[in-house]
């Protein structure tokens, strides 16, 4: 009976080691503090009605960014714990973590940073900006957008849940390659948590991908042909196309792994005809495009930033679009470079190596075009522009390391070493993370109505740069010294320790940078009156989002703009087009709905039941989620009309 009710979840599974108890306590304290604040200020209804159930992409975008920021601090804490262990666990000292716990931490670090930080931030920025850039009042499927967000939240809760509920997290690396991740070698709940966290959040990502692709293709304002779209919209389109093609591969692959684990099937086992290398191929067929899903939108952000702050049109727009599409297509032809060392033979290795090198061509073209955009410009070195400079400087070297790794003969000596770790951190930090920081700083006035504090922002930038060098240059050197990744312990004779200690100092500087960014946010909110954006166009922008007022009203545009060229808003400004007498129209907007929360909740329960083998709960989750879909699809009243008179009134007041 107990087994029927609780499945394999027993008292023994509950938290009983210092880090799970510690995390549970901090989650509880944080939650209580937040709940207390809401109660004290009587904001529960406000939170539910204005935010959680909202289908407004701007609000969902902000919620994505808040969630991704929280997850960033979890992931950064993991990074600090990894570095601390590696700095002290040498020779006779075993450090403060056992091997399994250390392995759980780097697994969680990788998954959290990729799935819940980088993806979360980009979906947030796309939600905020894509509708504005294409002159739309909404996304194609507002409910799906809300559902995608709540599935992302469910996945994020799932990956942290073992702290509270118990069990363990996967210790098998961020991609959990079999046979290590099979039940034979990983009998605990860790890999199951991993699988279902990725299943749930991956579903949300796929829904988001479909939503943005359709939105960009179908909801552009009159006159905006594909070749008149802003670069961020273009790169988002390509990134979302990658999501749609690649995420089903992730879903299928991890589902097959779970079938192996739960039903004793043999897709990827070493026994009974299973083939683990099949998994390695499949996961990287998703995994490599995933890298570009993270990096391509950042290219778009930097294109906007460099054009705006150079006061120029983007140099070689057509070439930029072609390069983005080239990168998108090529990203599917390089997956094998992640495992040249499998012994697939020289012909296969050389083919994938050369294809990988080829990706460097469109990437270099983009960099040339950004530099050429600065040529004969009037460059204002605001924080986003600083991040752009930092990005090009670091990305060039990270890219060189990548091309080097694409040569199998070199990869045989660098694969799985800390050189590799340094390479992909250079790429992800300089492109994705700096892109996110640039994007948030750049678009903050549009969304929040005030600029972020520039001075503190620069401090954060320089701390990031110094911290980055201190953290990752030692890792490049360690890689050349023959240090492998993921070491929880090493011999004193290796001489690694000084480099790990320098890297540890680096993470302290990065932590300081992140704290300065929190401080920047607090100061900016406090002193917002001094930095208010009253014009709607604080940076002398070029694209449509700057044509509406700041902060953007919930209906985005009082009157939809028309576009006859790239940089239409810039042209209109230069031509000194005065405000024509406007004619307001009724606007159709989506109603709030809590259904996405309920549906994600049921999906979450199903995943929970799958981890702990609780049959009845799985049935509840499954039936509940199907019921939610049915109820929602019979709801005919999902939209409301905002009358023209109301818009006129709000516009006059603003």
């Amino acid at each position: 009976m107990i087994h029927f009710i609780f499945g394999t979840l027993t008292w023994d599974a509950l938290p009983h080691v210092w880090y799970t108890i510690g995390a549970t306590a901090s989650i509880a304290v944080g939650g209580l503090f937040f709940a207390g604040l809401l109660t004290y200020y009587k904001r529960w209804t406000w939170l539910w009605k204005e935010w959680l159930t909202s289908t407004d992409p701007k609000k969902i975008g902000i919620m994505y960014i808040v969630m991704a920021s929280l997850m960033f601090f979890r992931g950064a804490l993991d990074a600090a714990m990894i570095w601390l262990q590696q700095s002290i666990s040498v020779g006779s000292s075993q450090g403060y973590l056992d091997a399994t716990h250390f392995q759980q931490i780097f697994t969680a670090h990788g998954d959290i940073m990729v799935f819940f930080v980088a993806m979360g931030f980009f979906f947030g920025l796309m939600n905020l900006i894509i509708p504005l850039q294409i002159g739309s009042r909404d996304l194609a499927f507002p409910f799906l957008n809300s559902l995608g967000f709540w599935l992302y939240v469910a996945g994020a809760v799932f990956i942290n849940m073992f702290f509270v509920i118990g069990g363990e997290f996967a210790a098998s690396g961020w991609l959990s390659l079999p046979p290590l991740s099979e039940i034979m070698y990983s009998p605990g709940t860790g890999v199951d948590y991993w699988v279902w966290s990725l299943q749930i959040s991956g579903l949300g990502t796929l829904l988001g991908g479909i939503n943005f692709l359709v939105t960009i293709l179908k909801m552009r304002v009159k006159g905006m042909t594909l070749m008149k779209m802003p670069m961020f919209t273009w790169t988002s389109l390509c990134s979302m196309a990658l999501v749609i093609v690649s995420f089903p591969v992730l879903t299928a692959t991890t589902a097959l792994l779970w079938l192996d684990r739960f039903f004793g099937m043999h897709f990827f086992t070493t026994t009974a005809g299973g083939n683990p290398m099949m998994y390695v191929n499949l996961i990287w067929m998703w995994g490599h495009p995933e890298v570009y899903i993270l990096v391509i939108p950042a290219f778009g952000i930097f294109s906007e930033v460099v054009a705006t702050f150079s006061g120029k049109r983007i140099f070689g727009y057509v070439s930029m679009v072609c390069a983005t599409i080239c990168i998108t297509l090529l990203s599917f032809l390089v997956w094998l470079h992640h495992f040249f060392t499998m012994g697939a033979g020289a012909d296969v290795d050389a083919f994938f190596g050369i294809m990988t090198g080829v990706i460097a061509i469109p990437t270099a073209v983009q960099i040339f075009n950004w530099i050429a955009t600065m040529f004969r410009g009037r460059i204002r070195f605001t924080t986003p522009m600083m991040y752009f400079m930092g990005f090009v400087s670091l990305f060039t070297f990270g890219g060189m390391a990548g091309v080097l790794l694409s040569v199998p003969g070199a990869d045989f000596e660098l694969h799985n070493s800390l050189f590799l770790v340094a390479h992909f951190h250079t790429m992800i930090v300089s492109a994705a993370l700096f892109g996110i920081f640039a994007g948030i700083t750049y678009w903050c006035p549009k969304v929040m109505g005030f600029k972020l504090n520039e001075k503190i922002g620069r401090w954060a930038f320089w701390l990031w740069i110094v911290g980055f060098f201190a953290s990752f240059v030692p890792l490049y050197i360690l890689g050349f010294m023959g240090a492998t990744r993921r070491l929880d312990h090493y011999a004193a004779t290796t001489g690694y320790q000084p480099f790990f200690i320098i890297a540890g100092i680096g993470i302290c500087i990065i932590a300081a940078a992140a704290l300065v960014q929190v401080w920047q946010a607090i100061v900016s909110i406090k002193e917002r009156k001094q930095n208010l954006d009253t014009t709607g166009d604080p940076w002398d922008g070029r694209t449509l989002e700057w044509s509406t007022r700041s902060p953007v009203p919930f209906y985005n545009f009082a009157v939809l703009p028309e576009v006859d060229s790239r940089d239409a808003f810039w042209k209109a400004k230069k031509a000194g087009k005065s405000a024509e007498p406007v004619k307001y129209e009724d606007v159709e907007l989506p109603k709030n709905t809590a259904m996405a929360i309920y549906l994600s909740g049921f999906v979450f329960l199903f995943g929970f039941a799958a981890v702990w083998h609780i049959g009845w709960l799985a049935a509840v989750g499954l039936v509940g989620s199907v019921a939610c879909v049915i109820v929602r699809s019979f709801d005919e009243h999902t939209e409301y009309i905002l009358p023209a008179a109301d818009i006129e009134k709000m516009e006059k007041m603003a």
Binding site: T341, A350, F368, M374, G495
Partner: protein, 281 residues
Amino acid sequence: MSGGVFDPQGPIALQERNLIILVVVIMLCVAIPMLILLYTFAWKYRAGNKKAKYDPEHVGSAWRQLVWWAIPAVVIVVIAVINWQSTHALDPYKAIPSSNPPLTIQVVALQWKWLFIYPAQGIATVNYIQFPVNTPIHFELTADAPMSSFWIPELGSQIYAMAAMQTQLDLEASSIGEYTGKDTEINGAGYAGMTFLAKSTSQADFNAWVVSVQDAGTYPALDLNTYNTLAEPSQNNPPAYYSSYDKDLYNTILMKYAASAATGTVVGTSTMPADMPGMQM
């Protein structure tokens, strides 16, 4: 720095180090001018410099784009040629030409130690290999554990060791010395301690070492029972030596996963994953 990729002690590692330097130098030819341009433009066209020309409509021309595409394309074509040639030259399965006959060592990755079998010498070791200098070593690798990767940085290439499959690796040491071999692929709790000593010695010292290990009075035999005990998970294993081993041991390990008692699959090549070049039975 001593040790590692930049301290090659064999022909493969030497070629790989030179390859790394060559590719980096070629790429720097583009990267450095590019970064100089970046900083020059950033300085020259800063907003404070009103003397610099300002041309907001300047968007370039088709021929300039052609140059943009051509420069990296040329570099990548050069690297592609190097890539193709070096990949074939450094194919880990390729025998190293030498006047000395190669020494074969069979490698089994276990949780979490390396088992080495010397078929010609009839001995086996754990976490220790010794081999003569200037002699090609032909490794045949498999695993009775999660996927592992076999790497001796000073000697060159690494390769995966996978259960039910066999990979190969050819290395050679050109100087006498001791090197640390390691696993580079996460394979469980004992991952970090899965290192071994690789010792290159003179042919005479090697022969003497073989004879000493062959002494059944000093070192035990590795029969299947002993192997099964050895294969149990254990961490940070010290070197161990076996004066002889069960002649079918390596093939038994290789076939252990291919033949499944559960499904009654017939043992044979048809049950082996067919997509692994170099698979040999």
